[in-house]
């Protein structure tokens, strides 16, 4: 699984070594890492619904890794912008973050992932306590929305891809709401077992 998550980076490296990064390599790397950030965000959001619907609670062990890979590709995407695209022109980047809504959205999405990556360890879950940790990690919802908006605002006319990611995120949100509604109903009808399961696992 870990190796699988590294395939996109491996592919980019391989293409770089073979001078195969299209005529505009910086743009290509930016787009690729951006795409994979969104794919990993969507995947990490899919873990919880998948566990419940497929009744595979053990999937939880992949969630942290997939989430960290979302951060990893986000970091690559962000560093590409800083180091390759803008070549450390801080004043220009600051102006972009302030002036260009799509960059503001992307930047926000990335910044919101930082605390999640930092508190991803078992130690931090303990320190924060499960409930607070869960609340903090709901920031991933904001990141997902910011990421889709970032992409949507970037494209010129063909919005199919950002809409595709947007649909996936919306679907995953809807699933959560659905699961929550079902859980609440079963809780009201007094199924103690089910409710224990859901309070421990929402998010």
């Amino acid at each position: 699984m870990f190796a699988l998550c590294l395939v996109p980076l491996g592919r980019l490296t391989w293409q770089a070594l073979h001078h195969d990064l299209t005529p505009n390599p910086i743009e290509y790397i930016t787009h690729q890492t951006g795409d994979w950030t969104l794919i990993f965000i969507v995947t990490t959001l899919a873990v919880t619904p998948a566990r419940k619907i497929l009744r595979l609670p053990e999937l939880i062990r992949f969630r942290r890794m997939v989430g960290l890979f979302a951060f990893f590709y986000g970091l690559l995407h962000f560093s590409t912008w800083i180091g390759l695209d803008k070549f450390f022109d801080w004043s220009e980047m600051l102006a972009d973050v302030r002036k260009r809504p799509f960059i503001t959205a992307g930047f926000t999405g990335f910044v919101l992932m930082i605390p999640l990556a930092l508190t991803s360890t078992a130690g931090w879950i303990r320190r924060l306590g499960g409930k607070r940790w869960l609340a903090l990690h709901r920031l991933i919802y904001a990141t997902a929305i910011a990421g889709v908006v970032h992409y949507y605002w970037l494209v010129k006319s063909d919005v199919r891809k950002p809409l595709f990611y947007g649909t996936l995120v919306a679907l995953l949100f809807a699933l959560r709401v659905g699961i929550w509604l079902v859980a609440r109903r079963s809780k009201q009808s007094g199924s103690a077992l089910e409710s224990n399961l859901t309070t421990a696992e929402t998010a």
């Binding site: 395939v7 299209t22 005529p23 102006a95 260009r100 809504p101 605002w153 970037l154 006319s157 063909d158």
Partner: protein
């Protein structure tokens, strides 16, 4: 007869049992790697065909134009595999893949509207109106990348003089070829097609405005707007309409595709201007394909000779 005893295998070369037993794992791993490599290779070939699938015909170039830049020409592969030609897909690599079978012969261009001698030209007729010149122009895309291309053609004003515009004619409207059969991806482009563009008549008369039939010594590759296109080096690339089929002289400013799609981002004039940003990105710099650092963008893309066309105009308003 000489017989040789089979050499004894030194014990150091005998595979340890644990490794031997691991071979299944290894094979599975190797399989995984090869499948991955194969998939990667296919993706790569899709993204960047190793061969030139299209072969152009040599064009007779009578002269090298003094209007040419001496800057380094962008490699052929970049100019032909990094294209915005939405009729053939919106990804930069799409046109090279999808325009391969585009039929560019027979071809004709209809010139109509406010002219004394309206006429439909065959491609041959059009091409022989004037000697072809090679002009190496800078080409700046509105997306802040640029290339240097050795185009082949002649000044568009030759054609205009041929059809004699009437005094009432103030603008030139252009239209691209569009056919959903040959361009099925056009319906997903997110812009209205056929692609239309326009110029003020005095802009169209400027000697820099090129009616273009080829590049790199040959006829135009399909993905670069075959068989005939406009090249307007002082304007953003999208003004230089590709695969031209209709030209009409009109009295009022004609509609233009990107302006209709998003008027706050793409104006009718769309002159290269480092001081007027695109609402979503800065136009102050550009990335020349093949270069690492962005270079500063020049007013009118460095073609100052067009400045007099816009004397007294507020170019922030008429972007």
């Amino acid at each position: 007869m000489l017989t040789k005893k089979a050499p004894e295998i030194p014990s150091s070369e005998i595979t340890p049992k644990w490794l031997y037993l691991n071979r299944r794992k290894f094979l599975a791993g190797a399989l995984g790697v090869s499948v991955g490599a194969l998939a990667g290779r296919t993706m790569r070939e899709l993204a960047w065909p190793s061969q030139r699938v299209w072969a152009g015909t040599k064009l007779n170039v009578a002269a090298k134009s003094p209007l040419s830049t001496t800057e380094q020409v962008t490699p052929y592969d970049a100019v032909t595999h990094y294209n915005n030609f939405y009729e053939f897909g919106t990804d930069k690599a799409d046109p090279a893949k999808n325009a391969t079978h585009f039929r560019t012969s027979p071809w004709s261009v209809k010139v109509s509207g406010l002219v004394d001698k309206p006429r439909t030209f065959t491609l041959d007729e059009l091409q022989s109106l004037a000697p072809l010149e090679e002009r190496i122009y800078r080409h700046r895309c509105v997306e802040a990348w640029s290339i240097v291309v050795p185009w082949i053609g002649y000044s568009f004003n030759v054609l205009l003089k041929e059809v004699s515009p009437q005094p009432k004619a103030k603008f030139v409207a252009f239209e691209s070829y569009y056919d959903t059969g040959q361009m099925p991806l056009g319906s997903r482009a997110g812009i209205e097609l056929p692609y239309v563009e326009g110029l003020r008549l005095d802009e169209a008369m400027h000697p820099l405005a090129l009616l273009c039939f080829g590049m790199f010594g040959e006829t135009l590759p399909n993905q670069d707007g075959a068989p005939v296109r406009m090249v307007l080096p002082w304007k953003y690339g999208f003004k230089s309409i590709k695969s031209l089929v209709k030209i009409k002289l009109v009295e009022k400013q004609p509609p233009t595709t990107w302006n209709m799609s998003n008027s706050s981002e793409y104006g009718f004039y769309s002159n290269v201007n480092p001081h007027v940003d695109h609402p979503r990105w800065s136009q102050a710099k550009e990335r020349r394909l093949g270069e690492f650092l962005r270079r500063p963008t020049l007013m009118f893309n460095g073609y100052d000779q067009v400045a007099s066309l816009y004397a007294g105009m507020d170019l922030k308003k008429y972007y």
